[in-house]
Symmetry: C2
Amino acid sequence: MTIKEIAELANVSTATVSKVLNGKDQNISEATRKRILEIAERVNYRPNRIAKSLKLKKTYTIGLIVPDIKNLYFSEMAKGIEDAAEKKGYSVILCNSDNNMDKEEKYINILQEHMVDGIILTTAENNIDVYFKDGQVPIVLLDRNVNSDLNIGRILVDNEEGGYIATKHLIDKGCKNIAFISSINKNYSSYYRFIGYRKALLESGYKVNDQLIYTGSFSIETGYKGTLELLKNGEVDGIFCGNDYIAIGAIKALKGKNIKVPHEIKIVGFDDILIAQYMEPPITTIRQPIYDLGREAVNMLVSIIDKKDTEMTRILKTELVERGSS
Amino acid sequence: MTIKEIAELANVSTATVSKVLNGKDQNISEATRKRILEIAERVNYRPNRIAKSLKLKKTYTIGLIVPDIKNLYFSEMAKGIEDAAEKKGYSVILCNSDNNMDKEEKYINILQEHMVDGIILTTAENNIDVYFKDGQVPIVLLDRNVNSDLNIGRILVDNEEGGYIATKHLIDKGCKNIAFISSINKNYSSYYRFIGYRKALLESGYKVNDQLIYTGSFSIETGYKGTLELLKNGEVDGIFCGNDYIAIGAIKALKGKNIKVPHEIKIVGFDDILIAQYMEPPITTIRQPIYDLGREAVNMLVSIIDKKDTEMTRILKTELVERGSS
DNA sequence: ATGAAAGCGCTAACAC
DNA sequence: GTGTTAGCGCTTTCAT
């Protein structure tokens, strides 16, 4: 059912139908207005957005690229994004990069072919380069930063502060040998969490000991392996984990070794994913406003799309949530 | 950059460019073919899929509606869907219904306005009615069934068998008073899990005791509240939880009451979401091939879209995964 | 108050 | 081997 068919049924032109259906009907007689609306209702008319998009050069669609939607961090973020997008009348196309830069770049292309109005991107964990060519769609980077002078929006969290707070907390709890397990150093978030970790240590007169640092990826496996590895290297009484998945892996490893958390080793995670509080022990962590991050990314993106004056970097606060693991 | 501009640069018609760019170039001279390809490359040409879709009446887009992407069950499913879709050249538009039937219906309309080629739908938990009008896009229902004679694809899991296996397992472990906590009865999955539960009980000479049944939603909260409620009602030494989230809530409630799992009360969940194995105790559960469910939904949907002869119902197997909670 | 017509970027049938 | 042209469904300017 098209506008043309409705026009025929109503004995008017397509222009008139279009006007009525889009509320631009100041100059349409009440009679025809009603007639058209009624017919549209009766035939269950649904506008063809593809045609509309082609004409208007606007799709009301945004692309979302995340490493892995299975990850609770990204799925909660995605929920924030979808909710906010829906409120603003946008639909979201979901893409998983699997932390693969080629796939990520491929998706950026596909999304542009789909003529999305903008893209929200959490780059692959190991991606610090930028391959965006200029003059493309508006992009908002979420929880990542990249070396680029392109005009790109950024929604970030104060990772350094978070890392500092986490480590300080362990120090305050009396830990003397605080390890750090996280993703690779070239990952933006991981790097700044490390900076915060280092700052807290130095400030309290501790040394940064390479033997106490393990980097891998933001995964349970890294937490597990890293912990076993660190235990071999010597004394550890506290571990700052780069995210909660790593903390889960760490706790699992310690249970396997019959080492008591928090009695013998204290653990702090990062993110406060939904499941953190249900772990045993419940994980002390640095909470990020994950859902809000997603929502704010949409708000920024839409603001850029609408060519409003927009602050291009927004840094949200983290917060210590003390639970049983520390 | 459009096909027209490339045509001008190459001194050929848009038709020729279109043919070359789409590989329909049997009748194009090698020289022009190369020239066009080279120019397209140089100017970084990206086809406008919106225009293409309008012309071809095919968008290579599918819609996915789930209750809540934050839920690990749906996010793992979504990953299976996105991976499979990507392999077949489709993009996926993500929608969350929040278990709200109005929102669900609204999304079905929006997706059709977007001219998606098909829709994968996990209806709201309490939705058993069908509001699809005839003659619409191909739809595959995922993990849900509805009262409808419309020609709709279905990817299901053998819930009854799963419920039976779970309950039988508890019986075999020596439980005498086995409770059932799940979503409401009108929910398809929940209902058949109950049927399996009942079957196992009756088969072993037990009675189905209404005092041991609690229904709410597929949530941690329901597991928590339900467990506290059931404990008031009397003896319980086993709980079959309708999904793993409920099991998590149940375990939390029991810990709060200082009741030992599995020593005093044994717990079995359903789904085997990614986190189930990391709980304390690790959750014994009925594994669903969640990722595969998503993948198969895409395969079925694309098969329907392509008008291939397709078996419209596919039921996948479940499997008991024994862990520490039982 | 309403309509004719052009055009968004693309494809494909048909002509040459 | 290449080009002409119509048209997908819609919006919008301009005319009447």
